[in-house]
Each structure stands twice: as C-alpha cells, then as structure tokens.
C-alpha cells in the first residue's frame, strides 16, 4: 500500500451512501406505524442490498489500485485541536465493507422468514439495520474518536439484539453481561486513544499508523517513547489488547459470547459469529504498526491459548448454539494468534472465510432449533429445543440442511477443497515458521494449535452426528412428521453461504493459499513460504479424528467418554470462569458498593448529623442556662422585690388597729434600745 492518496468524490459519496442507507432503514423502521410492520423486513433488506452493490463498486475501485482514499472535514474544534470526521478507504476497509454487506444480506433475507410473526418484527429489523450502520461506519472511519464511537455503538446494537426478547430473564442478563464486558475493553481503548493523542496530538489513523506514520517514526528505546516514558506505550498497548479481547471474545474477557447466544439465531450468525466479533481483529489490523515484537508475542500466546481453551469446552457442551459460540471463540483465537505471529494477511483471510462458514452453520442451527421447537410444540414435550442430546435423524428429514451443514462443518475443520483449508492452514504454516525462528518454548504455540485443529474436527463431527444422523432421541418417528418447509428465503442464503465456503471463491488452486486474492491484496505484509506438507498431514490427522468421533457418537445410547473425570467437568463447566468471575469480582464489588453506602450513610452523613446533634445539644444547654440561670437571676430579683413589697404592704392595710400596734411596737423597740445602750 503506497501512500497514494486520492480524493475521489464519487467513491466518497458512494461510501457515504453505503454506510448511511442502513441508518435510513433504521429510522424508517423505527417510525413505522403499527399496521405497516410487515414492510420492515423489506425496507431493511433493500437498504442492505443497495449498500452491498455500492460497496462492491467501491471494492472494485480501491482493491486492485492500491489507492488509499482519505477525506475529512472538521467536526469540531476544542482549544487548538481540530477533530475531524472522515473516511479512510484502504484494502483492509473495503474488504471489510464488502464482507459485512455480503454476510448481512443473506442474514436479512433469512430473517424475513425466521422472524415472521414476531410481535416486534419492525424493532428487530430496526436494530439489525442500526447494527449494520455502526459496523459499516466502523470499518471506514478515519480517526480514533469516531472509531471509538462506532466501536461502542456496535456493542450497543449487539446489546439491543441479544436482549431482543426482553421478557426472557436469561437474555436480559446476557446482554447486560455482554455490554459490561465490552465496556471493560472500551475503557482500555479509550485510555489507549487518550495516550496516543497525548503523544501525537492527532486522532488521525492514516497519520498515525501508516507505513511512514508517526507511530513508526517514534522509536521506543532507553525507557523512553518519544518524549514520554515507555510505560505509556505499554499502557496504550494493554488498552488496545483489552479492547480486542473484549470485542473478539478472547481470554480472559470471552465469557460474554456464549451467553450472547440468547439472542435470535440470525443475530448470532451476523453479529456474534461473522462481523462484530471480528471487529477486534480488524482493530489489530488498523493499528498493526503500533505493536512491538514482544507485544505481538503476547498476542500470539493469548490467541493460541484461547483457541485451545474454547475448543476443549466445545467438546462437551450440549447446547447447539453454545458449541458454535465456543467454536467461534476458538477460530477468533486463531486470527488473533495469526496477527501475533506476523501472519497479517492470513489472519484477515481467515476472518473472511470464517465469516462465511460460521454464518452458514449458525443459520443451519437456527433451522434445526425451529424444527425442534416445532416438534416440541406438536408433541407437547418439555424439552430444550437447543439441546443436541434430544436431536438426531434430522438429516433424512431435511437433506438440504444436512448437505450445507456438512460443507460448513468441513470448512470449519479445514478439509481440502474448502475455504477453511486454505486460510487455517496458511496460519498454521506461518505459526510453525515463526516458532522455528524463535525456538524454545515457542514451539508449544504451533503444537497447541494443531491439537486445537484436531479437537475441532472432533467436536464438529460430534455435532453433526448428534443432530443429523441416527434416530431422534425424543422417541418420535420422524418419518411421520412434516419437515419444516424450507422456502426460498431460507434456501437461498444457505446455498449462497455454502458456495462461499468452498475454495473456488478464494483461490483457483485448492491447495495454494498463496494464490488467493485476499492474500495478494495485502502484499505489503510478508506471507512467508508456502508449505504443502503440513496442511496435508494435518488434514490426514483430522480425518482420523473425524472417524474416531463418528465411531463414538454414531452408536446409539452409549457414553464411551466417562462423564466424571476432572477434565470432563472442567470442560463441561466451561473452565469455571463464570463461577469465579462471580465469586472473585462481581460479589466483592457489590459488597464494596454496599460497604461504601454504609460508610456514606453512617460515617459521613453520621458525622453531619452528629454535628447537628451537638449543635442542638449545645443550644439546649444554652437554652437551659438562659432559662434557669440568666432568666432565673432576673426572676429571683423580681421575686425578692415582690416578697419585700408584700412584706411592707401589710403595714399599709388601712386598719387602725395595725397602725396602733405597729406604732406601739416601734415605740417599744425605741424605748428598749434607749434603755439598753
């Protein structure tokens, strides 16, 4: 990507249209009067259809030419800093633009049928359009403030969609959890953006992270990063990692994704499998030049660990969507790891191929769940329609579904002739050569990755066998049941996505990812040597595991795997993350909150009230003094005067006898006095 800037007004306008059309659909659907709800699906779908056409045009203009289109205008000014709003189109963003629309369109079509009859049909499509708007905007914006804004809005629309059935207590808890965990990542990203702004005084992605950008030119050495201490760089990097781990569901912030499956299945397909969760990887791609080699190593290790952990959990889960969710986490781990080992283009390649086959698998899951729900209602059973232990035999009933599920499953495992083979193995090859260069404990990374691939083969086979083969575990003869009608709104998206899961879409040669157009589009980043032997060995091993799993699970009603061991429990309880997060983080925070409230009420407010009480007591003392001492003295004088007056009053009673008597007494006294002295 040379910094070959073009300012192409028509492309800019097209991009704006592509991004804003879903927003328009959101507004229309939001304002739709009640009796016009049935148009909601059509409005949203046509918006996304037009958006797809525009983004295809944009893609064709930008991709081959290696142009970078960057246009912006001042959004607002704060002090001396101009904050811009603008577009930045390079190969990465146009690829994502096209991909999001390519996935969104089938999901929209599917949703028209899938959500039919829901009382909040229009709200569903409004939310879905809003998500598409945020996601499309996220991939084309040119500065970090806007990037953060849409990053959060994507999380927000995911919140709305997970909690779409807001009466379900589990769904509401799940969306709260998803938003808060994403918030943890968001504050990481915010901190990172603030640090980058403090260091470089700009939010512009192009200026910061391009090949000759500010980030590349600022060298980290001697404990200094430009003018700032090196710790700022580490902190910013940690912030970005947090953001990536939260959005792309990596350890340790992955636990929201399995719970997010409470949302409608079509939503899981679009948001929690193909697009939104890939935003973390996209962020890594946008700011790739920021990281130092050792930071990338950390990324590789965490990605590798996450993919392994998630694969082990997927082995034992019984909820159909949860298995797929963990498999998504596992595949996202591959992408993050690929970024870490320097396999930039392979990571994005896997992002693209994964989007198609995982979306496909989710849409299949949606149909399976509908069918199980239908059976449950018809037979009046009390079963969980998502539990694969209750399924079986659906393959005969719904052959098309079975076929596309197998294609999706094989792509996920990475079998030859599928797209997954090309992308996954391209990552593994690069990881191997990376560890070769590093040596030591780094050999563990490719080894664990290969094990993860084999585990993937195992759980995918388990899933397919339990759902589609054998007999129904509900004890119903499915032959007598009408299968759910697969109309065009279902079959077109399924067939389209299945076709996109095959090798032809990406490379004419089924065994060489080096020829793939996606890889070639990022030719700036080294791809390394191709290697044909490693993929073939892995494929053979995977086949073994598929057969192994088939043998285990195709036998009816036998549990060969012991369900008591430590490892089984660890896997089944999802490594106990939720339990310990609840115990070690949520509960203490709530306790602290209550403690602080007690402190507030009793200590701080108590102090205030104590002051008031002291004042009141003091004033009472003063009042008592005033009444009894000050006033008492006065009263005493008054009483004294009164007593004297009363005493003397008697002498003037007006009675002659008294006058005579007192006169006599006075004379007598005078006489006595005179005689004595």
């Amino acid at each position: 990507m040379e910094t070959n800037l073009i300012t192409d007004t028509s492309t800019t306008n097209l991009t704006l249209l592509a991004v804003l059309l879903p927003l328009l659909a959101f507004v229309i659907n939001f304002l739709l009067p009640k009796h016009q709800f049935k148009w909601a699906g059509l409005v949203a779908t046509s918006a996304i259809f037009l958006s797809l056409i525009f983004s295809a045009i944009i893609f064709s203009r930008v991709w081959e030419s290696s142009h970078i289109l960057h246009q912006h205008l001042v959004w607002f000014t704060i002090g001396d800093t101009h904050v811009y709003a603008g577009l930045l189109l390079n190969n990465l963003s146009v690829l994502m633009l096209l991909l999001v629309n390519l996935i969104a369109l089938p999901v929209h079509i599917y949703s028209i049928a899938y959500m039919k009859g829901d009382e909040n049909y229009n709200r569903y499509f409004a939310y879905l359009s809003f998500f598409c708007f945020s996601m499309l905007a996220l991939v084309v914006v040119d500065n970090l403030v806007l990037f953060y804004s849409f990053w959060e809005l994507v999380g927000f629309s995911s919140y709305l969609l997970i909690g779409f059935w807001y009466k379900k207590e589990k769904a509401v808890k799940a969306n709260k959890k998803a938003f808060i965990m994403n918030r943890i990542g968001d504050i990481g990203l915010l901190t990172a953006i603030i640090i980058i702004f403090t260091q470089f005084h700009t939010f512009d992605i192009e200026q910061l992270f391009s090949a000759k950008g500010l980030v590349v030119e600022t060298i980290l050495k001697n404990g200094l990063w430009g003018a700032l201490p090196a710790s700022y760089q580490y902190l910013a990097c940690a912030g970005i990692f947090m953001a990536v781990f939260a959005k792309s569901a990596q350890f340790p912030l992955h636990t929201w994704l399995p719970d997010a499956m409470e949302g409608p299945t079509a939503v899981s397909a679009l948001i929690h499998a193909a697009t939104m969760v890939a935003a973390g990887v996209f962020l890594l791609g946008r700011v790739y030049s920021f990281f130092t080699p050792s930071e990338l190593d950390i990324l590789a290790i965490i990605g590798c660990f996450t993919s392994f952990m998630a694969a082990t959990i997927a082995l034992t889960q019984n909820d159909l969507k949860r298995i797929l969710a963990y498999s998504t986490i596992s595949q996202l781990g591959y992408m993050v790891m690929a970024m870490g080992v320097g396999a930039y283009s392979q990571s994005l390649f896997h992002l693209v191929t994964h989007a198609f086959f995982k979306c496909l698998l989710f849409l299949v899951a949606g149909m399976v769940i509908h069918q199980m729900q239908h059976l449950k209602e018809e037979q009046q059973l009390d079963t969980d329609p998502q539990n694969i232990q209750n399924m079986g035999g659906l393959g005969k009933q719904m052959p098309l579904l079975f076929l596309v599920a197998i294609i999706g499953g094989l792509a996920l495992v990475g079998f030859p002739f599928t797209s997954g083979f090309l992308s996954k193995d391209s990552i593994l090859v690069q990881t191997a050569s990376w560890s070769w260069a590093k040596g030591g404990a780094f050999y563990l990374v490719p080894i664990v990755s290969v094990i993860t691939t084999l585990l993937t083969a195992f759980y995918v086979t388990r899933l397919i066998v339990k759902v589609f083969l054998g007999k129904s575990k509900l004890g119903i003869d499915l032959a007598n049941q009408h299968p759910a009608k697969i109309n065009l709104a279902y079959s077109i998206p399924l067939v389209f996505l299945a076709a996109c899961s095959l090798f032809l879409v990406f490379s004419l040669n089924p065994f060489s990812y080096l020829n793939s157009w996606v890889i070639k589009g990022f030719s700036l980043y080294p791809v390394g040597e191709g290697n044909i032997w490693l993929p073939i060995v892995i494929s053979l091993l995977s086949t073994l595991f598929v057969v192994f799993a088939y043998l285990i699970y195709s036998r009816p009603n036998k549990n060969i795997i012991p369900q008591q061991g430590f490892f089984y429990k660890l896997s089944y309880h999802e490594w106990y993350f939720d339990l310990y997060y609840q115990k070690l983080i949520v509960t203490p925070i709530l306790l602290l909150a209550n403690g602080l409230f007690w402190f507030d009420r009793v200590i701080i407010d108590g102090f205030v009230n104590l002051l008031a009480k002291i004042t009141i007591t003091l004033s009472k003392v003063a009042a008592w003094t005033d009444r009894n001492i000050v006033d008492g003295f006065l009263n005493f004088i008054v009483a004294l005067a009164e007593a004297i007056a009363n005493f003397t009053r008697k002498f003037q009673g007006g009675k002659v006898q008294y006058y005579l008597f007192s006169m006599l007494v006075i004379l007598l006294v005078l006489f006595i006095l005179k005689t004595v002295f």
């Binding site: 800093t81 959060e152 809005l153 927000f156 207590e169 504050i187 901190t191 603030i194 702004f197 409230f597």
Partner: protein
C-alpha cells in the same frame, strides 16, 4: 438584555402574586410562559453571541458581551473611602452555554410542576424567584451581586423542598439549607477580604468587581489577599485560605465527596421540578463558581492545589458510582450518579488544559439536560404509584414501552454512549486530565485511568437497573392496581421528554454547538492561568 433575562421571571411572579387565587389553574401556564420567554431570550443571546479571540472574556472586562454596569450602592464611608457596589452583569463563553441550558431546564421544570396540587400560588412565586436568582448568578460579574443572587437561591429552595417535598422533607430542607449556608457564610468573609484588598484603578475605590480581582496589579500593597505581599492567616498563606474557603463553598454545591450528603436527601425528598432544578442547574453553579471565581481570582493557588482537586474529582467519580450501585431507591441511585458525573467536571477543571476545561463545561451542560431527564422520568413513575423502589418493579418495558424507550435513551446517554453529549464531556475531561501529566504536570496519569473506571461502573449500575426494573416478565409489588395505574406517557410528558432527548443527541453529534462558543474563553482562561 441580560437584565431582562434575569428579571422577567420576577415580573411574572409579581403578576401571579396579585392574581386572585380562584385563577390558580392559570398559574402554571403563566410560569410556563415566563420560562418560554426566557428561553427565547437566551436563544437570541446565544445566536448573537460573538466569537473570536477578541471575545475571550475571563480577565478582560472589555471582552465580555451584553454588559451592563450601573452604579448601585455608593456610600461615602468617610475615612474608609467610598463603598462601591455595581450592578454589573455580562457574559463570556463560559456563561452563555450554561445560560441556554438553564433556561431550557427551567421550561422542563415548569412542565414538571403540573404535578403540584397544593398551594399553587406560593409554589409558582417561589419557583420564579428561584429562576431569577439562578439566572442572575451566571450573569453577575460583581462579587456582591453574585453573592446576593447566590444566597437568594437558598430561600425559595428551602421552602420548595420543605413545603412540597416528600415524607422527610423538613429534615432534607434544613439539611440542605444549613449545608449550603455553611459554605456561603465563609464565602462572605473572603468576599469582604477581597473587597478590602482590591481597588478599582479608575476611581481608586475598593470594589467588588470580579474581573478586576483577577488582575494582581489592582491589589493594594500589603492588603490581605495581595498577590505580592504573602500575608498569612493562622500561619497559612492568606490566598490559600481564601481559595480553600471559596472552594468548599462551591464544592458543597457541586457536590464533591465528602461534602455531598445533602444531595441524596434533598433530591429524594424534593418534588420533581425542584429535583430537576437542583440537579440540572444548582450543581452547575458549583462548577461554574470554581472556574470563574476559584480559578479566576486565585489562579496560582488553583495550580498548586490542582492535584488535590483532581483527586477529589476522581474520588467523587468512583465513590458516587459505587454508591449508586448499592441503591435500592431509583431516585437515590440517580442522585448518586450525579455525584459521579459531576466528578468528571472537577477532574477536567483540575487539569487546566483546554481539553479538560472544555470537557468539563460540556459535561456540565450535558449533565444539566440528562439529570433533568432522569429526574423527570423518575417523577413520572412516582406520580403514578407513589413508589420508586427498584425491586418493586419488574418488566415495565411490557406495560410502558414508550416510557422505557426514553429511560433507555436517558440511561445510555448518561453512561456515555457515543452519539450523546455525555460521551464528549467525559471523554474530553479524561483526555485533559491525562494530557495534564505531560503538558503542565499537574495531575499524575493514573488519575485519568482511575477516572475511566467510573465509565465502566456507570454502565454497571444503569444496566443493572434496566434489567431489574424494565425487562423480564411483568411483576409489580402493587399487582393489578399498579398495572392499571402505570399508564404509558401522556402528551405533556412526551412533549417534555422529546426536546431534551433531541438536545442530548444533537450535542453529542454536533458538540461544536457548545465548543464553538466556549473555545475563546477557555483559551483565554488557559493563557491566563499559565501567565498567572
């Protein structure tokens, strides 16, 4: 123009006072008219407010706009000289956005006053007096005038809480009154000290002019607060004492932890319109006072104490948020969230960077609207069933979908979702706080990092409340009686909520509406702070 803005409510108050009580139903319309008129005036002022480096304001008297300066009290005190108090009003970028915000919040508060049923005459007269006082505070440039308006707010508020409040209204009213009075009494002492220290260069008299108090040359040599002579009070530097006293007075208003405990009580007990005014406007007077007076008159002390201001800000953010998380009463939860959100204001101010102070002003404007909206929303549910305990409600989204929509807008805007105004305010307060460590070295960077945790906690308590009260199956403590009582929004409520919702959205999308007006003043303030 400003005088008209300030005193027009008083005129309407007078009209209400002389009207016979049998026309009491019209009082609310008269009040609404008064506030609408005021809103119109303030929008006119906003539109005609000139921007550019020549209109920075802050410490240049000539750069203020819509000024009016009349001699007011001129007493010849013989040997003590002449006492000079001016009626001096004027605005710069800091005041103008807050003025518009104030007048809009007043309209909302007037609309919220529909719920008042007893003693209407008294209520609306006090309401309009309060309106005058708060508007006056934002416009005054004479410290004496400022103080009069400042004290004048307390009186109507005391009665408004004490007479029309909830069950513990008398306790709350007196607590609020004494708390605030405690701050302002000492403010009076500092004000007199400043008066005796500063002389008007034109007339040679002592003066209360705040703009002249910002110029060190105007201080008399050897006077208490003189910048050069380093006087002490009780062994502390006199100017530091002056700063701390004024800061405490305003910190009580903001409120800053640990001076905040009047707030939950006052908010919870006050009737809805008064809660709206308290949270929407009164708290901003604290922030405004800190910027205009504490930073303006004692800039070098503010710089010295910036670390402590920032620390208090972060403590407020986290402490307020944690307390909000622990609340069972919806209104109390929102009251504590106010403490948390206002902490960002203090943090931004403490940073003394353009980003920080602009962010702080933005956060004040934004919080003015958001807290108004939140308290109005609580008022709606409380009026319907006279209960607002979070645990007594469940599944409100099913019975009150429109209400829930507005609650979600208010909650998400408050927790800082991009696209709404609070995001801009909080993000730039934090940016300023962080930048401070590398530009002026006032705040360590961990303060900003800790502050950002407040955003996380904000999401936690708002979403938890949403989950507990609004989602899930319907389950009300009051059963079917409540279910019928809890009707969805009526037209008046919608008309009240829609403008604020639009305002917070518009400010989030076009923050330049605020920033373009305040920018020159903030730059002037920063350069003033740097030169001291």
């Amino acid at each position: 123009m400003l005088s008209l803005l300030i005193f027009s409510p008083l005129l309407f108050g007078f009209i209400i006072a002389v009207m016979p009580s049998r026309l009491r139903t019209s009082f609310k319309y008269i009040t609404l008219l008064a506030t609408l008129l005021q809103l119109g005036l303030s929008i006119w002022i906003y539109l005609n407010f000139k921007t550019g480096a020549a209109f920075g304001g802050i410490n240049h008297e000539a750069q203020f706009q819509f000024m009016q300066k009349l001699p007011w009290i001129n007493l010849d005190l013989g040997t003590l000289g002449k006492m000079q108090v001016d009626y001096f009003v004027g605005i710069d970028g800091l005041s103008v956005t807050l003025l518009v915000m104030t007048s809009l919040v007043m309209v909302i508060a007037a609309l919220a006053s529909w719920e008042i049923t007893s003693n209407l005459k008294g209520f609306f007269i006090l309401f309009l007096i309060l309106d005058m006082a708060v508007t006056g505070v934002f416009c005054s440039l004479d410290f004496f005038l400022f103080y009069i308006f400042y004290e004048l707010m307390l009186l109507p508020l005391y009665f408004l809480i004490g007479m029309w409040g909830g069950a513990r209204r008398e306790y709350a009213a007196i607590k609020f009154f004494l708390y605030t009075l405690f701050g302002s009494v000492f403010m009076l002492l500092v004000m007199v000290g400043l008066y005796l220290s500063v002389t008007d260069p034109a007339t040679g008299n002592h003066t209360f002019n705040m703009v002249q108090m910002m110029n060190p040359a105007n201080y008399q040599h050897g006077s208490v607060f003189s910048v050069l002579s380093h006087q002490t009070i009780f062994g502390f530097s006199a100017r530091s004492v002056g700063f701390v006293v004024l800061f405490i007075a305003f910190a009580i208003k903001v409120p800053v932890v640990p001076l905040h405990t009047w707030l939950p009580d006052a908010h919870v007990e006050a009737p809805t319109p008064v809660s709206i005014i308290l949270a929407g406007i009164l708290l901003k007077i604290g922030g405004y006072g800190i910027i205009r007076i504490c930073l303006g008159i004692f800039p070098e002390v503010a710089t010295m104490g910036a670390y402590w201001l920032g620390l208090l800000g972060v403590i407020s953010i986290l402490y307020g948020a944690m307390n909000a998380l622990a609340q069972q009463d919806l209104k109390r939860m929102i009251a504590y969230s106010s403490v948390s959100h206002m902490g960002f204001v203090l943090l931004g101010i403490a940073s003394q960077t353009t980003e920080g102070i602009s962010g702080a002003v933005m956060q004040m404007v934004s919080h003015g609207f958001l807290s108004t909206m939140l308290f109005f929303l609580v008022g709606i549910i409380y009026n319907r069933v006279h209960d607002r305990s979070i645990n007594n409600f469940k599944g409100l989204a099913t019975i009150m979908p429109k209400y829930t929509l507005f609650v979600m807008i208010a909650f998400f805007a408050s927790l800082g979702l991009p696209g709404f105004s609070a995001f801009i305010g909080e993000a730039f307060s934090l940016t300023g706080a962080f930048k401070s460590s590398s530009t002026n070295g006032l705040l360590p960077y961990w303060l900003s990092v800790c502050g950002s945790l407040g955003i996380l906690l904000g999401a936690a308590y708002f979403l938890w409340t949403l989950q507990r009260m609004f989602f899930g199956e319907v389950n009300l403590k009051g059963g079917a009686v409540w279910q019928t009582a809890l009707s969805d929004l009526n037209l008046r409520e919608k008309l009240t909520l829609i403008p604020i919702a639009i305002m917070v959205l518009v400010l989030g999308l076009m923050p330049s509406l605020v920033f373009s007006k305040i920018n020159d003043s903030v730059l002037a303030l920063i350069s003033y702070l740097q030169t001291k």
